[in-house]
């Protein structure tokens, strides 16, 4: 099957291949797989927690050309967007941009799942952090009673 020139372009010169520190609280990681073909895709975003803007995005995909092109395209699209904007991304937009044939639509679904799961991971981390901050703020008030005067 022939790939569209858009897919080939992203496949030959993938944008934003790489890794972000997954322990960083401002980094969200999405790891998804397509068991049907054994593909695995990791998409990461670095988000400014004040503005919720995606400042950087990286991916690593082991799979076919369409899966690589789909994830490459998504990292390009989400950079500079807020996470709420990024969440509105639909796989059909990827299909359209890359001219994916019907048998490769699952690759675009995988990329949509990956960005959604990266955003969910970021939000979970932020919620945990905010929870810790609240606990820290609450701690001094609890201290006097611990002193037991």
């Amino acid at each position: 099957m022939a790939y569209s020139k858009e897919v080939i372009e992203h496949y030959e010169q993938p944008r934003n291949v790489g890794t972000l520190d997954k322990e960083d609280p401002t980094v969200g990681t999405g790891l998804v797989g397509a068991p049907a073909c054994g593909d695995v895709m990791r998409l990461q975003i670095k988000v400014n927690p004040e503005t919720n803007v995606v400042e950087d995005a990286k991916f690593k995909t082991f799979g076919c050309g369409s899966a690589i092109a789909s994830s490459s395209l998504v990292t390009e699209w989400v950079k500079g967007k807020t996470i709420d904007e990024a969440l509105t991304l639909k796989n059909s937009q990827i299909v359209e941009e890359l001219n994916l044939p019907p048998v490769k639509i699952h690759c675009s679904v995988l990329a949509e799942d990956a960005i959604k799961s990266a955003i969910a991971d970021f939000r979970k981390k932020q919620a945990e952090r905010n929870g810790e901050r609240k606990a820290e703020n609450a701690a001094p008030a609890a201290q006097p009673s611990q002193g037991g005067k």
């Binding site: 790891l31 797989g33 049907a36 073909c37 054994g38 695995v40 690593k60 082991f62």
Partner: protein, 177 residues
């Protein structure tokens, strides 16, 4: 299509490779076009389409993953449609192995490739063993939990297979250069 019926073999995961080859060759011989030179057009067409079916059934039953998928398909459609998943722990391990292999390939570190290949082969063999065990208990009764377990194992087997395919490619490239 039931590839087991096509080749006249019992519907089970553990097929005897010798028996499979023997059945295949017999049918191939029986359906060979040379045997139908004197036959009518419709009979020739029938034997030809039957020969195509036999080839396809053989291709499926010879392959550990495809044979498992064929058995599962005969048990009915997957619940929850086509979207199947593996656990996130499994995915993480699969990703790590693929990354390590890509790094080893990049560094032309063939001994590391060898170590990763051995690991992938061990994982493949263990998954294959578990799958055979699940299928043999499925032969008694097709409990939904067991079927789900078989599906998950087939998915895992595909990931291991992909890693091993990648290893073969790296080895071929290394030999060619």
């Amino acid at each position: 299509m039931d590839p087991f019926a096509t080749l006249g073999l019992p519907r089970r995961y553990d097929v005897d490779p010798g028996e499979l080859d023997r059945r295949y060759r017999e049918l191939q011989k029986a359906l060979h076009p040379d045997r139908y030179t004197g036959a009518g057009a419709s009979e020739r067409r029938m034997s030809l389409s039957k020969a195509v079916e036999v080839n396809e059934a053989y291709r499926v039953l010879r392959d550990d993953v495809k044979r498992a998928e064929a058995l599962l398909a005969l048990l009915g459609p997957a619940p929850g449609g086509e979207r199947e998943t593996v656990s996130s722990e499994f995915l993480m391990e699969a990703m790590e192995l693929r990354e390590a292999l890509a790094d080893a390939k990049h560094a032309r570190d063939l001994s590391q490739v060898q170590r990763l290949a051995a690991r992938a082969e061990a994982l493949w063999a263990e998954t294959r063993r578990q799958l055979a065990a699940v299928f043999s208990s499925l032969a008694q009764s097709a409990a939904p939990a067991e079927v789900a377990c078989a599906r998950a194992l087939v998915n895992q087997l595909k990931y291991h297979q992909r890693l091993l395919d990648e290893v073969s490619l790296i080895r071929e490239e290394a030999e060619a250069s």
